[in-house]
């Protein structure tokens, strides 16, 4: 679908010519059962001369049927609050990792400390990165949405504890409208072994977030759980036998 209505240049019939515009006009009237008796005679004559009109009537009639099931349409205007929230997207924040707005913000970072994490559209996406992998990476901190725990779109670092010696593990949470995203960067887990990520609610309920395999190269993962950040108490990484590999307790959402 072309945006903002194709054919708007023909809005008043100027674009399709007199006969075509009249045909379009009568077709629209027929679909709304809005033809006058004289228009009905005129339209019937047009249909007899041009069988394609009936095909169009049938096709557009399906759309009209869908509209009749739709209910009402609410015209809305964005609130000031939404405007402010969107304005915050892409604005330079206090995060020293973000130096300016622009395409270069997403430049990969490497080395010790916070690891580069893949930004991908798909949920529960994982990437194993070999040396010199040549993959352009961006950290979720580049979203530049800032705020306390639970702020939609903001990246919240969490500290995992309990991981075996030799396992390097870095984690973030991102609050979304539909749940909580866990962003992991892991190195040192046994290659080929399966691990699951479970988000535990403050009522003790467990929410499956996804699984990944250990690799001999660093694994970057994004996993989603259907629990709101405000209801999350911890995130656990478990081995195939169910034992915890690492656990991150997360602070309560206060706002």
């Amino acid at each position: 679908m072309t945006d903002r209505t194709p054919g708007v240049g023909a809005d008043d019939g100027a674009g399709t010519g007199g006969a075509g515009a009249r045909r379009d006009e009568l077709t629209a009237a027929a679909l709304a059962d809005d033809l006058s008796p004289s228009e009905r005679v005129e339209f019937d004559a047009l249909r007899a001369a041009d069988p394609s009109i009936d095909a169009e009537l049938a096709s557009l009639g399906v759309v009209v049927g869908g509209l009749s099931d739709f209910g009402r349409w609410d015209d809305v205007a964005p609130s000031d609050g939404l405007r402010e929230r969107v304005d915050a997207v892409g604005r330079v924040g206090d995060d020293p990792a973000v130096s300016h707005i622009g395409p270069h913000v997403a430049t990969a970072r490497s080395g010790r400390g916070r690891r580069p994490l893949l930004i991908a559209v798909a949920a529960a996406a994982c990437l194993a990165i070999g040396a010199g992998g040549g993959v352009l990476l961006a950290t979720p901190r580049d979203t530049v949405v800032a705020g306390p725990a639970g702020t939609l779109g903001a990246v919240e670092h969490v500290d995992f504890v309990g991981q075996p010696a030799g396992v390097d593990l870095d984690g973030d949470l991102v609050a979304h409208t539909w749940g909580t995203e866990t962003v992991l960067s892991i190195d040192g887990l046994p290659t080929g072994s399966a691990f699951t990520v479970v988000v535990v609610g403050d009522d003790g309920r467990e929410y499956e977030s996804g699984a990944f395999l250990g690799s001999d190269v660093r694994v970057d993962c994004r996993l989603n759980a259907a629990v709101l950040r405000s209801d999350v108490a911890s995130v656990e990484i478990r081995a195939a036998d169910g034992h915890d590999i690492a656990v991150a307790s997360v602070p309560p959402v206060t706002s």
Partner: protein, 189 residues
Amino acid sequence: MIAVMGRAGPVPGRVADRSPMSEGSSGLDVRAAFVEHGSSLLGFAVNALRDRALAEDCVQETFVRAWRARDSFDADRGSVRTWLFAIERRVVLDVYRARTRTPSVVPLEHAPDPVATVADPLERLGMAEGLARLSDDHRAAVVAVHLEGLSYREVSERTGVPVATLRTRVFHALRALRTHLDDQETTDD
């Protein structure tokens, strides 16, 4: 469900749809994009989900994702508006599915309006997006006639727009909706 959309044609009286992206760069002017398209994006989400607060979250999330993916935007493949709607479609669908999976108990006065009055809820989302993407004039005409059930004469008396113009607007709006729904079916296959 990522539709490959055609480019937006210029609309009389409107600035060509390129201002939110800096020409020759992948920088996204979030504020300009929101001013230009925020109402339409919110209209899609509100009418798809029937939950104003959730819909505003969806719009914010759309811009967050757009900002993250700004380097992947290709003006040769479609307009900023088309790109934002494609992102929002995934956001709204995610929210819709999550809400379907996790029903919550809320006071009756806070319950959102029922959504699924059609057999396939995805059809409703598709129709909501299609309506949101129409121009204001075309959407107003088709909503008045086919959702509110007014006659063209009644709409004309209410708006001052001639009946012939209203009919032509509705005709083109229905065609645009049909194309949009057909595209969705194609990309869903």
